[in-house]
């Protein structure tokens, strides 16, 4: 291995241990012919993806494609970045070009599935995920795509199941832990969600989103919002039906005073559920709405 090749391998290693900023500086320090090699473009685009710098990913991927012609990985990164820039049709074009080169690539199939989930084409997304899962059932991208599909369908139970499988297969994966947190929050398990986001932030301290989510769930774990736990667990409508049922039953049984008191308590609870979360959020986060 020559010295420059060793440098490239070092960059790849830095990316593997989640040091994207360092990988970027190392790539920029490569000597001239190597710095514009296909592999250098891939590594640069990969590092920028980890950093969520989507505009830069688009620029780097397009430059690499212009210099070296079609490349499945660069096209895939381009599609992912364009999706984040909400240029959905262009993202689809890039991903289809990538899949034309590597039609069985699980990561590419999952990227396209995520794009379809995000525009509400869930049936197509399901077929894409199934194809990716047939190739690599245990790949993190497949779990993540299955989660997003279930989420887009509004099927919170399925999403929770996928998240649990994901954590089971990849116990230390911050994405798995964060999705587990999202699923728990959707199902009203505030404590579990808070712990999961905390663990995700601990496994990947550089990702601001996990830390934000952990803060956000801190709001809902606040003691002032303790009375609202049943509301989150049952869902608003079911809690509300239950309350109306109790009021009607009490009144029908002739316990008018008790029924009235319960109705009053229920009214206060409703108002509390409306005004308390923004107040606690302000107390905990020190600002209105993140």
């Amino acid at each position: 291995m020559t010295a420059p090749e060793r440098q490239l391998a070092r960059v790849a290693q830095l990316l593997e241990v989640n040091r994207p900023e360092q990988a970027l500086t190392e790539v920029d320090r490569l000597p001239a012919p190597l710095a514009t090699s296909p592999l250098a473009f891939r590594l640069r685009a990969g590092a920028l993806t980890v950093l969520d710098r989507w505009d830069d990913v688009v620029a780097v991927a397009r430059q690499g494609l212009a210099e070296h012609g079609p490349d499945a990985e660069l096209l895939g990164r381009l599609g992912l970045a364009l999706r984040h820039r909400r240029e959905h049709a262009l993202a689809e074009r890039a991903l289809l070009d990538a899949l034309a080169i590597e039609p069985q690539h699980p990561w590419l199939l999952c990227q396209y599935a995520d794009l379809c989930s995000a525009v509400g084409q869930t049936d197509k997304a399901e077929r894409l995920v199934a194809r990716a899962a047939a190739v690599a059932p245990e790949a993190p991208a497949v779990f993540a795509a299955r989660f997003q599909l279930a989420y887009a369908r509004g099927d919170d139970r399925a999403a929770e199941r996928v998240a649990r499988e994901f954590v089971g297969a990849w116990p230390g994966n911050p994405v798995a832990l964060a999705l587990h947190g999202v699923a728990a929050a959707q199902r009203g398990r505030v404590g579990t969600a808070h712990r999961a986001f905390g663990q995700a932030a601990a496994h990947d301290p550089t990702d601001a989103d996990y830390a934000d989510a952990a803060w956000e769930t801190r709001v809902y774990a606040h003691p002032l919002l303790l009375p609202l736990r049943p509301l989150h667990r049952l869902g608003i409508f079911r809690t509300w039906l239950l309350a109306v049922g109790v009021i009607v039953l009490l009144t029908a049984a002739g316990l008018n005073l008790l029924g009235g008191l319960f109705a009053l308590a229920w009214m206060l609870f409703c108002v509390w559920s409306w005004i308390a979360p923004p107040l606690v959020r302000r107390m905990v986060l020190g600002r209105w709405r993140s």
């Binding site: 959905h88 689809e92 039609p103 995520d114 525009v119 989420y151 509004g154 409508f237």
Partner: protein, 148 residues
């Protein structure tokens, strides 16, 4: 069948930025406090912002009108003998049922909107306005019909 997987299905202009929608789940508050009219108007506006299909919007409108009529009929008919009609409770119940239609037609479009990186708008001011204006107008309507 499998090969339409690799043909483009996303139209360029279909997901352009509109005004941010409200969380459909939150519409239950104006539904319970304001009644069918408030939640229907808010849900129709929200459906537009989410780009919900025309049949779904019409279904929403139908559910809203049905909820309003049901509220009037039940208030007048079933509780006719009682001196103290539970006007508010029936209104809240009708609003809640109309909200079910909003949740059914808007949950998935809203989830997709979230996956596209969108954030919900605040329902505070529009919700309160709808409860006060439309809720009040509806109550007046109920009493006008009851008095007639």
């Amino acid at each position: 069948m499998a090969d339409d997987l690799f043909t483009p299905t996303i139209a360029p202009a279909a997901y352009e930025a509109r005004r941010p929608p409200w969380r459909p789940q939150s519409l239950i508050f104006p539904a319970v406090f304001g009644g069918p009219a408030a939640v229907t108007v808010l849900a129709l506006v929200n459906g537009r912002r989410l780009g919900v299909s025309r049949p779904a919007q019409l279904a929403m409108l139908g559910a809203g009108l049905a909820g309003l009529v049901a509220r009037l009929t039940i208030t007048l008919a079933i509780f006719d003998e009682e001196a103290d009609r539970p006007v508010r409770l029936v209104g809240a119940l009708a609003g809640g049922l109309v909200w079910l239609a909003a949740a059914a037609t808007q949950k998935r479009p809203f989830r997709a909107y979230e996956l596209r990186g969108g954030r919900p708008a605040s329902l505070w001011l529009p919700g309160l306005t709808a409860v006060l204006l439309l809720g009040f107008a509806e109550t007046v309507l109920v009493f006008l019909v009851a008095g007639a």
